[in-house]
């Protein structure tokens, strides 16, 4: 069956890429100068010969480099990403704590990107070369040209410092207790806990970072959709639909848009990567307790194991996400499977 072969091939490719990714992070770890143990544990621990011996065995540091790599991969498969240097805590535990916040922020950003980008793209295509088109293209151009870190600062200055419409950095109002942890997404947890105040507070806090983070993706989506909708609108089946007297709204929404959305769905994978990248900067500016701001604080402190752990984790998430998109795409559009 074509579909299964396609899925298996994608899966195989993803595994190969993952292996290369692990070689890359392993090599980066090897490139760190000095005693590899010093780069992985705190000074206090490094002076203790028994701790050293135990850790050397655990990470296989007393073995030749190829064996070290095997040990590294084996540890990764067990979910052991090493330990953060100055907190001496397993990186995996730290990630578990920070990932939900990033997921939450990214989801809201995606919501903004699609919620604004799709209508913008449609309007631009329908009114091609007239003022709504120019306006929509200008907005999407701004979205893709503004450096996200400056946009964040500007938004904070205008809406928090000057106008006071939205709260400043943070995930919830100061002094507000977080709803009991279930999913880790404060918005969902607040709903589950029937805590209206926390839910509203979260929405007000997430609005600015989500818009700032989503602006780039919004620009991409609007631009892609505009051009593919323009192509679709000049296709024969659209002419047929018009000829049989369909109202223009149904022609655009029912016929052209469905086909035009395919390329836009493809760039969603790319968009996801841009959101993760943007999250690094957005979370830093808005003190959002996610993976991105964690990575930045670790990177600045040259906490290599933590940084490499985050890097590996994000690459893993990205590969899995793309795999899912690819497979879904192969199911939806049989033509893709041949490629």
């Amino acid at each position: 069956m074509g579909l299964w072969r396609y899925i298996l091939r994608r899966l195989g490719l993803a595994v190969v890429v993952l292996l290369i990714v692990s070689v890359a992070t392993f090599s980066l770890a090897q490139a760190i100068p000095g005693d590899p143990l010093d780069a992985r544990i705190s000074e206090r621990q490094a002076d203790n010969p028994r701790v050293r011996a135990a850790l050397e065995r655990r990470w296989g540091l007393d073995e030749p480099v190829p064996v070290q790599y095997v040990v590294y991969v084996r540890n990764l498969l067990r979910g052991d990403l090493g330990e953060s240097i100055d907190k001496s805590r397993p990186v995996a535990d730290e990630l578990r704590k920070f990932v939900p916040a990033t997921v939450e922020l990214t989801l809201f950003a995606m919501l903004f990107a699609l919620g604004v980008g799709v209508p913008l793209g449609i309007v631009a295509a329908i009114f091609q070369n007239r003022w709504p088109d120019h306006l929509a293209r200008f907005v999407s151009l701004i979205g893709t040209s503004v450096p996200v870190f400056w946009l964040g600062l500007l938004a904070l200055y205008v809406f928090w410092v000057r106008l006071g419409w939205l709260p400043g950095p943070g995930r919830l109002d100061v002094g507000m207790t977080q709803p009991p942890l279930v999913t880790g997404l404060v918005s969902l947890d607040a709903i589950l806990d029937r805590d209206g105040a926390a839910f509203r507070s979260l929405l007000r806090h997430v609005a600015m970072p989500a818009v700032v983070l989503g602006s780039f993706a919004m620009g991409i989506v609007a631009r892609m959709l505009r051009s593919s909708l323009l192509v679709a609108l000049s296709d024969d089946y659209v002419r047929t639909a018009r000829a049989k007297g369909l109202v223009e709204r149904r022609v655009v929404m029912g016929h052209a848009l469905r086909n035009a959305l395919i390329p836009t769905v493809t760039v969603l994978g790319l968009t996801f990567a841009s959101l993760l990248a943007g999250a690094v900067l957005t979370e830093t500016i808005f003190s959002w307790p996610g993976v991105g701001s964690y990575a930045v604080t670790r990177a600045v402190k040259l906490d290599y194991p933590a940084l490499l752990g985050v890097t590996l984790f994000i690459a893993f998430a990205y590969i899995v996400f793309n795999l899912v998109v690819d497979i879904a795409y192969g199911i939806l559009d049989p033509r893709i499977r041949i490629g």
């Binding site: 890429v17 990714v21 450096p147 600062l153 200055y157 990248a277 690094v280 290599y304 690459a315």
Partner: protein, 314 residues
């Protein structure tokens, strides 16, 4: 290409059999000339070009312009809002922001261009080899490219910068950041180039060159590479902006260029640390970056239309 036709026998025989057309009275037209004519008619693209040239000129002339010293602190002058004396305000050490942002252009623009030239050439070369040689070489190169692409650029760049700053030769922070940006951006060029080479490879003139015994290297560099074109140039133009933003992001995080140097990202970071109520400190370099990226977008889109005959006049 003139060099190709004089050296390749296949093309010479073809030229002999081609009938010579009537002498044209129009001035001689070249593909580049055509592209330029199309480009010149696009006001938006020309606006982009003007902005870029303007920044380059400002950067070049910075030492002879009547600007304050961008590095020496001036006490008693700190954190001033934009005024008649300081059009764009001053930073926390009293240095003129206008001067700093113009001197910043001397760092950001050339670094962006150079890093794309380097990483683009490298990516193109390696992608061309992958596409031409095929087989396991192709597979190995492209899977490696996939692996690099599966890191969000800034995360990988952060990691590379952090690791290389610990190395003995890694003390030049700008160079570190640029190295990271370069290492992150090449795979996309490899992909685009590989695709082009794959399709050009099937042309008859390539088979002809191979059949008269041209070496792989010669076929690749003389016959295939000259036929690849527009998408790469457009991509490179747009990517200069991406490289500038990425380098600035690293500086903003605190991993790239550090404060005394007036690099735009580092300047935004300075404003962020000082407090967002001093909005001009981050906004001046922020608008500078935005204007360059936008101008490159304008110009790149125009270039895409100009270089692609099918899109001309659309």
């Amino acid at each position: 290409m003139a060099t190709t036709s004089t050296t390749s026998p296949a093309v010479i025989t073809q030229a002999r059999t081609t009938p010579v057309g009537p002498i044209s009275l129009r001035p001689r037209r070249t593909p580049l000339g055509d592209a330029w004519r199309t480009l010149r008619r696009q006001p938006v693209a020309m606006a982009g070009l003007t902005i870029i040239l303007g920044w380059l000129l400002l950067g070049l002339l910075a030492p002879v312009l009547p600007l304050d010293d961008p590095l020496t602190p001036q006490s008693g002058n700190n954190l001033q809002e934009p005024s008649r004396d300081h059009w764009l305000g001053t930073d926390e050490l009293g240095r003129d922001m206008l001067s700093r942002v113009i001197y910043g252009a001397r760092i950001s623009l050339p670094s962006g261009v150079l890093v794309i030239l380097a990483t683009g050439s490298f990516g193109c070369l390696i992608g061309a080899v992958a596409g031409y040689v095929g087989g396991w070489v192709d597979n190995a190169i492209m899977r490696f490219a996939d692996a690099v692409l599966s890191f969000p650029s800034i995360i990988l760049a952060m990691t590379i910068t952090a690791v290389s700053s610990g190395l003995p030769w890694g003390q030049n922070r700008l160079l570190n950041a640029l190295l990271a940006v370069g290492l992150v951006l090449w795979p996309e060029y490899a992909r685009v180039m590989r695709g082009q080479v794959l399709s050009i490879k099937t042309n008859e003139y390539v088979t002809a060159a191979q059949s008269v015994g041209a070496s792989s290297w010669r076929v690749l560099t003389r016959h295939i590479l000259p036929s690849t074109d527009a998408p790469i140039i457009v991509k490179a133009t747009l990517d200069v902006g991406a490289a500038i933003v990425l380098t600035a992001s690293l500086s903003f995080i605190g991993l790239g260029v550090v404060p005394p140097t007036p690099e735009w990202g580092a300047m935004i970071n300075q404003g962020f640390k000082k407090g967002i109520e001093f909005w001009w400190m981050s906004s001046v370099p922020g608008i500078a970056i935005m204007s360059v990226v936008m101008a490159l977008n304008f110009f790149g889109d125009g270039l895409r239309d100009a270089l692609d005959p099918r899109r001309r006049g659309r």
